[in-house]
Amino acid sequence: MSVSVTSSRTGRRLNARGRARRAKRVAARRRRQVLLSGVIAFTAIIAAPLSVASYLGVETSIPGIETAKSFMAMMSERSPGDRTKAELTRTKQRKVAAATPKQRALGKITPPPPPKEFVEAIAPPAPKIAEGVPLAMAPTTLGPLLITPSTPGGILIPPSAPPPGGTGGPTPPGAEEPSPTEQPPPPGDDVPPATPPVVPEPETWATMLLGFGLTGLMMRRRRRKIALA
């Protein structure tokens, strides 16, 4: 800005020599601008692929020459890390004798069971017993609000049809334990999170600096315009 002011000042009292000098100066300035923009374009062209490559994590170094790291370091880089949980594999577990009690060879003192119809007529099978198996499939999302009293009065309900939704009654939804097979591993161990570097990357710094510089320039320019006006 100051250059233009002086030139305009000298332009008032111009002669041929002064005019020539001024033309020379203008030409020099134009040349400098061209040169500067050339440098900008060159550096931008050089920097862009490199920074893109380093942002994308592409290795630009020559393959086969990795002189910086030791063998053990390279090995541990690919390792999933130390073991934090070690549960014996299920497939190999010895088959524990199932919980079915065996009848001992003693004299049978138990009387023969009464006929089924009698038992059902006298005491309908409690729904609690039948709950064991279908518990996992019961729609627990319905919640206990929708449960209607399952056996009103003395109406017999066939044991094959358990009351709908009634199974959610005694156990509140959510108290169900997730089955061990579905239990996902804690996210911190299986998938090592990509830790961002504490110190920003040099490109980040450079971009930040560039941004600050541009902001400052714009502010300065605007302020000066206001002052001029």
């Binding site: 900008i40 920097a47 020459i65 880089e77 999933p80 070690a86 998938v191």
Partner: protein
């Protein structure tokens, strides 16, 4: 005004270029040794990293049993069930297997070049996998465990007389074996084809304490 702007932009662009060059390891990389470049075989490519003599020396000092010429470039941290197998153009040679229990990795080497690596499962604390050097005693393709209820042990490479082996299993987080080394089944099949009876398997427990005189 415009000149100041241009200068600022040039400086910023230069700084960006320098930063990019630096972070892409163009600047701080030590110059390659000429002799080593000549030693690289023609099939050297981005898939593997060749060790320098200094790196090998260091690795041997840290307890590596065999000479290693190159290892596979695994560009990410492997997860349970992952494996890499690449024996393209690798010449024939002695096959040996390195099992690192601490880092939960297995590496297969042929003629000093790593051709495969996988994440393993190993013995639980009450059923520890033994460490040391074991020759492969037997190869059984469709083995079933005699000790553990006929559990399938596909592609078994038996290491000890008491049943410790390398075999295919469901490699997943949080699991441990009864002393065997479990590898992904697909990898186990490749390993089974590669390794022959008598080849060495080195099982390393922990690098440093094992080497210290007690």
């Amino acid at each position: 005004m415009t000149r100041g702007f241009f200068v600022a932009v040039v400086l910023a662009a230069l700084a960006t270029a320098a930063a990019a060059a630096w972070s892409s390891r163009l600047m701080d990389r030590p110059p390659p040794v000429a002799s080593q470049l000549e030693e690289l075989p023609a099939w050297a490519n981005q898939d593997r990293t060749f060790l320098t003599k200094a790196q090998l020396f260091q690795a041997r000092a840290n307890g590596l049993d065999h000479d290693v010429q190159s290892i596979l470039n695994v560009r990410k941290r492997m997860q349970f069930g992952d494996f890499v197998w690449n024996d393209r153009d690798v010449p024939k040679g002695t096959v040996w297997v390195r099992v690192d229990l601490k880092s939960q990795l297995l590496s297969v080497f042929r003629g000093g070049h790593e051709i495969g690596t996988a994440v393993i499962l190993y013995g639980a604390e009450e059923k520890e996998t033994p460490d040391g050097t074991f020759p492969v005693l037997a190869k059984i393709k469709d083995h079933r465990s005699a000790t553990y209820d006929n559990a399938p042990m596909p592609y078994t490479l038996r290491l000890t007389d008491d049943g410790v082996a390398i075999h295919g299993s469901d490699v997943r987080w949080g699991a441990a074996t009864h002393g065997c080394v479990g590898v992904p089944v697909e990898f186990a099949a490749k390993l089974f084809d590669e390794v022959s009876k008598g080849d060495q398997v080195v099982i390393v427990r922990d690098r440093k304490p094992a080497r210290l005189p007690s």
